[in-house]
């Protein structure tokens, strides 16, 4: 260890790179983030409370959290199935699917928004088959769930996939040899090792969905109290120059995001410990 520390001292550039890193981080991230907290302190308590606890805001929180959880749950189930199929099975088009899973990362959210709206609207490619069944997707809360499922799609697949790849099949073999059925093996041997990765993927998809604006704004119809998510509410407050109200709601969202970020960090540490053990 001592030799290692000594070796590291040979390398140049510590002061320069640390200085640049901190200065850039400060200017681009920390100063802007701190303004929102300073701005919050200028609000009076009744002002703050009126903004964050109005019926319209509460309805937006309910929809945002509810639809984000629903989207993340859908992604946990189907993301797992996609990851399992990609790692364990051979089928035509596998590489194409592996590449395409990251599409929601790469596609601009406004493009995703108008496209999902077009296909899930009452006369769209998919919507026209759902409309006769009485299922309304676009311009309804279900549309918000569809958009949030889309944006969170890569997370569960990309957190579960590497864990499945590293999973040593010897344990499954041992379980099978000892007389376990395939289902028992899955529940008792495979599932426990995947839980941390699944939870991490769920949390990442949830966090991404909670802040999503672009893909939701088109498909939701933006009706206050009904299909208005929190980022959209912030946007409309900003457009009316109600900066105090927007700030109060944004601070609540930021605190929620940071709490999720903390959970993700804890989960990832747990996950890597599991893998190492």
């Amino acid at each position: 260890m001592a030799a290692r520390t000594k070796r590291k001292n040979v390398l140049p550039g510590f002061g320069l790179t640390l200085g640049f890193t901190l200065a850039y981080l400060g200017m681009v991230v920390l100063i802007p983030i701190s303004t929102i907290f300073f701005k919050t302190f200028t609000l009076s308590w009744p002002q703050f409370w009126a903004a964050v606890a109005s019926p319209r805001t509460l309805a937006a929180y309910e929809l945002s959290f509810g639809a984000s959880i629903a989207g993340a749950l859908i992604n946990s189930v189907f993301g797992f199935i996609v990851a399992w199929s990609l790692v364990r099975y051979e089928f035509p088009g596998k590489t194409l699917i592996d590449v395409m899973v990251d599409l929601p990362f790469a596609l601009p959210t406004s493009v995703a928004g108008i496209t999902l709206t077009a296909i899930y609207a009452g006369n769209g490619w998919i919507g026209r088959y759902l409309a006769p069944l009485g299922i309304k997707v676009a311009y309804a809360p279900l549309g918000v769930v569809v958009a949030l499922t889309f944006v969170g799609l890569p997370f569960v697949v990309r957190t579960v996939q590497p864990v499945l790849e590293d999973l040593d099949q010897e344990y499954e073999e041992a379980a099978a040899t000892l007389g376990a059925s395939r289902l028992q093996t899955f529940i008792l041997v495979i599932a426990p090792t995947l839980i941390p990765a699944l939870l991490t993927g769920f949390a990442l998809a949830f966090a991404r969905a909670l802040g999503e604006y672009g893909s939701v704004v088109f498909i939701s119809g933006n009706m206050p109290m009904h299909t208005e998510v929190v980022p959209l509410l912030i946007m409309s407050k900003l457009e009316q120059f109600d900066y105090a109200g927007a700030t109060a709601i944004a601070v609540v969202m930021l605190v929620a995001s940071f709490a999720i970020l903390l959970c993700i960090n804890v989960l990832q540490r747990w996950s890597s410990r599991r893998l190492a053990a």
Partner: protein, 294 residues
Amino acid sequence: MNSKSQAEPKRPGTADPSWVRIALIATALVFLSLFLFIPVIAVFAEALQKGIGAYFAAIVDPEARAAIRLTLMTAAIAVPLNVTFGIAASWVIARFDFPGKQTLLTLIDIPFSVSPVIAGMLFVLLLGVRAPLGGWLANHGIRIIFAEPGIVLATIFVTFPLAARELIPIMQAVGSEEEEAAIVLGAGGWQMFFRVTLPNVKWGLLYGMVLCNARAMGEFGAVSVVSGHIRGHTNTMPLYVEILYNDYQFAAAFAVSSLLTLLAIATLVAKYYLERRVVPVKQEQEEPVVKVAA
């Protein structure tokens, strides 16, 4: 040890019954079709619904060209800045030990957990004409919010962690032996950087650039807040898509969208090939590191 399933012979008792296999693959395909494949096809179908002539007319429209120019310019500023930051941050984090390193890593990730709308709002609060700093700048004739500089700033914020996040693990995996050798043999700091460090991490660097670029060109929420939607002036391509769509010019909206979709697909293909270059570097270097640790 590191088992990719296809490289390994099937082990007895670990294969799923064929009906399970078929059901799971079918479920995966249906799910991905509903959410990925049908939307991508729909973009191009909608873009071409009024014919190829209308498609090209929509793309070469002066407003569309202005949006394309602003998008390219924004990426041309944001990507090099964030990549430079990524190199500096990964160097200091992967090569040195200092107190607060873990905190620094957490702080770098912050923009990922901030909603794009809130990201844009931060800059309105800081630099809008009603804010002290923004007001002072406005008095000196410098307009940031509802102008191009605001768009560039918001884009820099949302793409901030991307390059650093890719470079840190690669820099760590490559190890510092070759750089130390260069320094001991008398190379200067910049000489070492250009001859040893940069060539070692070049694929990771390119990978980070591709991801950063895709997000910079595609950002919508944050840019939407700071742009003020001034036509032909402060519209990036994703914002222009929204304007066309709200004007019921659906074919034109999808025509511009199809360009962004092509960019997304090109990004995914580049990502696929770059990942294959980056991963071997990591694995090749990881083995001795593990041995040293053990």
